[in-house]
């Protein structure tokens, strides 16, 4: 499975949606993922890819990890995975 598909699966689980309901343009808010769900999704992503995502729930927009859309999250994860290898 590609990184994008794995991230989408994690978010779909969190949002309790079908994979087909989620596109790269979706926002977490639009999918009904609240702040606690976001923290849980980031944790699941870190566990799945064995990476450390710089994310502070107080200032979600700060840092260089963009969470504005599913596509942005996928890009961020791809970058972190590439940096790691």
């Amino acid at each position: 499975m590609s990184i994008a598909d794995r991230v989408i699966t994690i978010i779909a689980n969190q949002a309790m949606l079908e994979l087909g309901d989620i596109t790269l343009e979706s926002t977490l808010e639009g999918l009904g993922v609240d702040s606690l769900g976001l923290v849980e999704s980031i944790f699941a992503i870190e566990e799945a890819f064995d990476i450390s995502v710089p994310f502070n729930a107080n200032v979600p927009s700060a840092g260089d990890f963009d969470i504005s859309t599913v596509g942005a999250i996928v890009a961020g994860v791809q970058r972190l995975v590439a940096q790691q290898s």
């Binding site: 923290v39 502070n56 107080n58 200032v59």
Partner: protein, 403 residues
């Protein structure tokens, strides 16, 4: 109903190891937060906290006591010694049968848990010390205080996360107010500053890596502290009959539940609790000069708390002062309301308002007088102390200057 006064106070926290040094630090706006020092700290991403430093347990306790006292119990007993000594109370047979201990605590003996998990899981040992359970249980601190002074009335521990101490002190107030007990020892203690304790908090991603900056637009999370605050709550006539010095009068409280979210605070829940405390203490909004804020330095708490205060106080919200001393001593979780009550006592007794330090940028969503960075002299009759816990459990206390 009986009037309730505070006749003794004690503390140990990152700002000082007694009340005078803690109040002096608050007056000077000193920061007690610094680098954490304990085993495996290098495996944490959060490495700062309001840790009690320069403290020697062996100077305070015997070896037998230390075998039974986790740090949260040590802190409670040290603060209780100061509070009871300062109150001048002698516990006669009759009084000790009617005096009890109600303390707030959230984590129990976290260091004890951490060390023993490490020993069985990491070191693979199959045997633990026989006192692990009596050392880590949440009621250990209240029990040891009751034993040390032979207090045989109602004693228990209240555990409502960050509101534990306020809920505990509200219970103690109720017991004295209702005539059940002439004296109650109350407050709270906490010590989660160990590897497992901080690691668990890291998971929530609400902790700051650099500083606690309540109400400041650039705030980025909470910082943990540790320690205890203990008070003697005494029935007014009982205190007067023995000529006790009165630090302040406790005039009311309220508790409320948000019943909405396990971590996100609710403006309505907080506002109902603050207005409930005003009603219970028979206060008008304009009677209140100072509020010790819950003020955790998280994005969510600070704006919600300011909105709740604005709702309850209306135009008076712009005239009262509200500061968060967590900026200096950190968030003591189950012990926090007890240490913060000291700032309320300082306001009504000494006319000094503790500041919110580390304040750098005003936040339009926190547009109240948060007493930024420097303490202020002010004539305050009545102060409130706010506590709004995870789980949506709120408790607010009201204090008045002693007559």
């Amino acid at each position: 109903m009986k009037r309730v006064v505070i006749t003794g106070a004690g503390t140990i926290n990152a700002l000082g190891q007694d009340v005078p040094s803690t109040l002096e630090a608050m007056r000077e706006g000193r920061c007690g937060i610094g680098d954490l020092e304990f085993r495996d700290v290098e495996r944490l991403s959060i490495r700062i906290g309001g840790q009690v430093k320069g403290y020697d347990p062996e100077a305070a306790f015997t070896r037998q006591e230390l075998a039974l006292y986790d740090k949260f119990t040590q802190f409670a007993v040290i603060a209780a010694r100061q509070a009871i000594a300062q109150s001048g109370l002698e516990f006669s047979e009759e009084l000790s049968l009617r005096a009890g201990v109600v303390l707030g605590n959230s984590g129990g003996g976290m260091t004890t848990l951490d060390e023993n998990y490490r020993s069985v899981y990491e070191d693979g040992k199959n045997r633990v010390h026989p006192f692990v359970v009596p050392k880590l249980m949440n009621n250990a601190a209240a029990s040891h205080v009751s034993m040390a002074w032979g207090l045989r009335g109602p004693s228990f521990t209240v555990s409502t996360a960050c509101a534990s101490s306020n809920h505990a002190m509200a219970q103690a107030f109720q017991m004295v107010h209702g005539g059940l007990c002439p004296v109650m020892v109350t407050g709270g203690s906490e010590s989660m500053l160990c590897f497992g304790g901080v690691k668990a908090w890291e998971g929530l991603r609400v902790m700051s890596k650099d500083a606690c900056r309540p109400f400041s637009a650039n705030r980025n999370g909470m910082v943990q502290g540790e320690g205890a605050g203990i008070f003697v709550f005494e029935e007014y006539e009982h205190a007067r009959a023995r000529g006790a010095e009165v630090w302040a009068e406790v005039i009311g409280y309220a508790m409320s539940s948000d019943a909405s979210d396990i971590v996100m605070p609710s403006k309505q829940g907080a506002a109902r609790c603050i207005s409930g405390a005003l009603r219970d203490a028979r206060l008008n909004p304009e009677d209140v000069g100072y509020i010790n804020a819950h003020g955790t330095g998280t994005a969510a708490n600070d704006k919600t708390e300011c909105a709740a205060v604005a709702d309850v106080f209306g135009r008076h919200a712009d005239r009262l002062m509200m500061s968060s001393t967590k900026s200096m001593h950190g968030h003591l979780i189950g012990g926090t309301g007890a240490v913060e009550l000291l700032a309320c006592i300082m306001a009504v007794r000494d006319g000094v308002i503790a500041p919110t330090i580390n304040f750098q940028e005003p936040d339009p969503e926190c547009a109240l007088d948060v007493v930024p960075n420097e303490a202020r002299e002010a004539d305050v009759d009545v102060a409130l102390s706010n506590a709004f816990a995870f789980g949506g459990l709120n408790a607010v206390l009201a204090l008045r200057r002693a007559e």
